[in-house]
């Protein structure tokens, strides 16, 4: 599903954000991406969502080399990858419904079909009763779940999350993770970037650990051992 092949990324000025990173995420697999801030997690996600391009190496999604995607086609790639952002990135002066419907509107859905899908997505994250609310009136956790509903509403085969539990208390974090697990169980590949190591260890999923741009661990993470 997702493959990094000896990917390096250096920014102008010589800062190396990723150093020869290779890994493969299979279809229907769920994994965590951990590391300190500045370790390269964000850069890795930016390469997948084509916000940045690798300096060296190849990023492949479903065996399609992303370096072959020209600028006008980038939006179509982003439609195939659901992304959940740490700071939610919601349209604050639009209702929850409008926010979740946005990817569908962009793809040309309309009418009953769109409403049905939006309601299904909100139902999965447990926010069906907030459909007419503005995001400001929701709590942080609820806003995050709106972001999740928006990312999954057009049923992307690959789901990325950047610090989805960043500002949430442990109970809410666990709820959010349950939501990801539920998507994973229906065949969606999920990659969650987080520095919440306790949560990662409890969940018992494959964990990719980055340190100063290098991949230092790929496998189950044992809590308390402090692999960093």
């Amino acid at each position: 599903m997702l493959e990094f092949d000896q990917v390096s990324k250096s920014y102008p000025g010589g800062f190396v954000a990723l150093d020869r990173v290779s890994f493969k995420l299979e279809k229907g697999e769920m994994a965590f991406l951990t590391g300190h801030s500045g370790a390269g997690k964000s850069t890795l996600l930016k390469l997948i969502s084509l916000i940045e391009r690798p300096s060296v190496g190849r990023v492949l999604i479903n065996d399609v080399d992303l370096s072959r995607i020209r600028r006008p086609h980038i939006p179509y790639v982003r439609r195939d990858v659901g992304i959940i952002f740490q700071n939610h990135r919601l349209l604050m002066n639009h209702t929850v419904f409008d926010n979740v419907a946005l990817p569908l509107v962009i793809e040309g859905f309309s009418g009953k079909d769109m409403v049905k899908r939006v309601h299904a997505a909100l139902d999965k994250v447990g926010l069906l009763d907030k459909v007419r609310c503005l995001p400001q009136t929701l709590s942080g956790g609820e806003q995050q779940r709106v972001g999740i509903a928006r990312a999954v509403v057009n049923k992307p085969p690959l789901l990325l999350a950047d610090e989805p539990t960043g500002n949430l208390d442990p109970d809410l974090s666990k709820d959010i993770m349950r939501v990801f697990e539920a998507f994973n169980q229906v065949g969606v590949s999920v990659l969650v970037a987080t520095h919440d190591l306790g949560l990662v260890a409890r969940m018992k999923y494959r964990t990719l650990t980055l340190k100063q741009g290098k991949m230092i661990n790929d496998g189950l993470l044992q809590y308390q051992e402090d692999p960093l």
Binding site: L45, K46, I51, R78, L102, I106, E107, F109, R150
Partner: protein
């Protein structure tokens, strides 16, 4: 369309195998919906919208007014067709038979609309009547006035009237011909100058309108930078993002054009009385001409095209420049 996953039916339309006709209807329904949405956006920021529309309307008013001015001046100058009348003075001592045969030839001429013969005697009588020298004229032993043929050309433009004058002056019995056309030529030149001036002013003002709309749209894009980034992150194409802004430009054009039209109409209504009193002093039946339907629609079309172009120029530069910086 999915580039990465060939089997994935991602588009709402293609997923349902909607018929071509229905998709065509949906296309227009979507456009109407987005147009209305943009209208709503203007409504939500009333002060900025009213300012832009006001500037637009006033900018369009000036060229429109000048156009009407030229049109009315032209109407006045067109009513002076008589001015192109040619007077042919007949040589002294020509007998009536020769004059009559020339009269008949000229009447049959294709370039000539009307020929009138004023005989020596008629001329003298008229002169006596008008000049007030009636008594003195009776002392004249013979009539010093020549026969005159008044020729009205079919084509009353200065150039062709002059050509006709040259041709008729060569007639054997014609002493000389006279065409008082200089002042008409001058009037034509002035109207021409006026029209050029209107064109220059119009181009300048329309340029200003483009810049104003472009700038308004740019500000509106900047204020929605976050939204645009989010839309790009969830896979919106530039075309999708720029559509509402283009519609805003169109609406600016529509309202600006209407405003300009209303201002001009109000001005005409205001001036009607004043012009009426002036023209009644000159015994003229001059009537101020307002916009015709075609001119109204041309004004609206121009305004809408300006709005669309202004927003397109702005949108093309600024929307592609906004790129999401990170998840």
């Amino acid at each position: 369309m999915s580039i990465l996953f060939s089997g994935r039916a991602s588009s709402g339309a293609s997923a349902h195998k909607i018929s071509l006709g229905r998709r065509f209807i949906m296309f227009w329904v979507n456009h109407v919906r987005q147009a209305l949405f943009s209208l709503g956006e203007l409504w939500r920021t009333p002060s900025a919208s009213i300012l832009t529309i006001g500037v637009l309307g006033v900018s369009l008013t000036l060229p429109a007014t000048l156009h009407l001015l030229v049109k009315n001046v032209q109407q006045v100058s067109d009513s002076f067709t008589q001015a192109a009348e040619i007077s042919l003075f007949i040589k002294d001592g020509t007998d009536d038979r020769q004059i009559n045969s020339l009269l008949r030839i000229l009447q049959a001429d294709n370039d000539i609309a009307r020929v009138t013969h004023i005989s020596k005697q008629q001329a003298l009588d008229e002169f006596a009547d008008v000049s007030g020298f009636g008594a003195a004229l009776t002392y004249l032993t013979d009539n010093p006035l020549p026969d005159v043929l008044l020729v009205l050309p079919k084509n009353t433009s200065a150039g062709s009237a002059r050509q006709l004058l040259e041709r008729l002056s060569k007639e054997r019995i014609v002493e000389f011909g006279k065409l008082d056309i200089d002042w008409l030529t001058r009037l034509d030149a002035i109207v021409g100058l006026l029209r050029q001036a209107v064109l220059v002013i119009a181009v300048l003002l329309l340029g200003a309108v483009l810049l104003i709309i472009g700038n308004t749209i740019r500000l509106s894009i900047m204020s929605k930078k976050d939204e645009i980034e989010i839309m790009k992150l969830v896979g919106a194409t530039d075309a999708f993002i720029q559509r509402p802004f283009l519609y805003s430009g169109v609406w600016f054009g529509v309202f600006g054009g209407l405003l300009a039209f209303l201002i001009v109409e109000a001005m005409l209504w205001w001036l009607q009385g004043a012009i009426g009193s002036v023209t009644s002093l000159y015994d003229s039946d001059f009537r101020l001409m307002a916009f015709s339907i075609t001119e109204f629609f041309s004004l609206m079309l121009l305004a809408v095209l300006l709005g669309l172009t202004g927003s397109y120029l702005s949108v093309r530069r600024h929307i592609s420049a906004i790129e999401p910086t990170g998840p």
